[in-house]
């Protein structure tokens, strides 16, 4: 797993947010488009692409995209 491709996969779960906003250090829950439904899309993407199960707490405790990346890397 590689950070840049993870960010691409992460960004693909959004419809309206500009790609430039998706940086490793962005607080993804501050993005206007972030919602509980986006969270489900991210969980599904991580399940499909990385075969990792994210819990509600994993999402709640991660702040940046890189946090989430690290968490998945550790579970992988």
């Amino acid at each position: 797993m590689e950070l840049n491709s993870f960010i691409e996969n992460f960004a693909a779960q959004f419809d309206d947010t500009d790609v430039s906003e998706f940086t490793p250090s962005v607080n993804f829950k501050d993005l206007d488009e972030w919602s509980s439904l986006t969270a489900l899309s991210v969980i599904a993407m991580v399940d499909e692409e990385y075969d990792v199960k994210l819990s509600g707490n994993d999402i709640r405790e991660a702040n940046t995209i890189e946090d989430l990346y690290q968490l998945i890397a550790n579970k992988n």
Binding site: S35, S36, L40, I43, A44, D47, K53, L54, S55, G56
Partner: protein, 352 residues
């Protein structure tokens, strides 16, 4: 490994009863129009039936059972077993099944008990009824499964209120010497997730006090009391998209069948987004995977029998079918059942 194989019990009939009052999620007061459109698109839930204050789960199940028994032409005193599966009983004490035994005019020689399960409840209920019948050679049984879960959701909680509807069902089983493939089950549990779907207060662990009755804003759009239903959508989603396909796959392997050999897959109706992930994981063609979400929402334990009556009533009562059923959710508890149905009695959905 909880696999159960029952060879001498068949499903004889199935009926569903819903409240008349229909509610459209476009009228949900606590979301913007844009949010509501997104919610309806993602969950697939447009309308839901909501029981009035005077209608309990047992009332819906009673109507379904009363009509089903009449259409079957069964003598009520021949029914040896009644099981009521619900998380919305009439009272904390006594069990609702005893009240229904009397109300349905069943014999005092009828065994009756409750099972407190939700989304997996129909599968567990079927397995319990079929096992009891097979072990005791009981001739006839009625399984009542339903919930009026809208009584337990807080209208100000967008994470629960727009998802749930109410329904009660009745399914009849009879002992048979010739059941074809019989009924096979896979049952499973993961209690580490017991908080994922919960009503925290009102049981013995936490009584109803002033704090339990106080509304708390958990986050924007999610306000509820401890006596209301709470649901961690993310945990439930992760659980559902992994365990439901796994259970269906395990059962199919066990019975040596593949997706092509099943006529219809009827899964618990959680929400469209989750159910579609499950369908795609199992590579089930769309036309074999049935829904009732847009009309009735998530009716908790009632989703599987309600979806059968709603979608394939005219087929189950006219020809043999191979069905794969799967329930998953609150507990966390899940399970699957395979059965071959043959000309079972299936009246129109009843509205009260």
């Amino acid at each position: 490994m909880a696999f159960i194989n029952i060879s001498d019990v068949r499903m004889a009939g199935i009926a569903a009863c819903i409240p008349k009052q229909s509610y459209h999620n476009k009228d949900y007061p606590h979301l913007s129009t844009e949010e509501k459109d997104k919610l309806i698109k993602t969950t697939g839930i447009e309308r839901r039936r909501i029981a009035d204050d005077n209608t309990c789960t047992s009332d819906l199940c009673f109507e379904a059972a009363d009509q089903l028994i009449s259409e079957l032409g069964w003598n009520r005193t021949d029914i040896d077993l009644l099981v009521f599966v619900s998380q919305t009983p009439d009272y904390i004490i006594p069990a609702t099944s005893t009240i229904l035994q009397q109300r349905l005019g069943l014999s005092e020689e009828c065994a009756a008990y409750d099972i407190a399960l939700g989304c997996s409840g129909f599968i567990y209920g079927m397995s319990s009824v079929a096992s009891m019948m097979s072990a005791g050679k009981l001739k006839r049984a009625i399984l009542l499964v339903g919930d009026t879960i809208t009584k337990k959701t807080n209208i100000k909680d967008k994470s629960t209120a727009p998802l749930f509807g109410d329904a009660g069902t009745a399914t009849a089983f009879e002992l048979t010497k010739n059941s074809g493939d019989g009924i096979q089950f896979h049952l499973a549990t993961d209690g580490s997730g017991y908080k994922a779907i919960q009503i925290e207060a009102g049981g013995s662990r936490q009584s109803v006090d002033e704090i339990a009755l106080t509304e708390i804003e958990i986050q924007a759009g999610i306000t509820r009391r401890k006596v209301d239903l709470s649901l961690d959508g993310m945990d439930v989603f992760t659980f559902g998209i992994s365990r439901a396909p796994e259970s269906a796959r395990k059962l199919l392997e066990r019975i040596g069948k593949n997706v092509d050999q099943i006529d219809y897959f009827i899964f618990h109706q959680a929400n469209l987004f989750m159910n579609e992930k499950i369908r795609k994981k199992l590579k089930i063609p769309e036309e074999k995977y049935l829904y009732s979400l847009s009309e009735y929402g998530n009716t908790s334990s009632a989703t599987i029998p309600l979806t059968i009556v709603h979608q394939i009533k005219d087929q189950v009562n006219s020809k043999p079918l191979n069905l794969l059923l799967s329930g998953f959710g609150v507990g966390l508890s899940w399970g699957s059942a395979y059965l071959a149905t043959n000309n079972i009695v299936c009246p129109e959905i009843i509205e009260i």
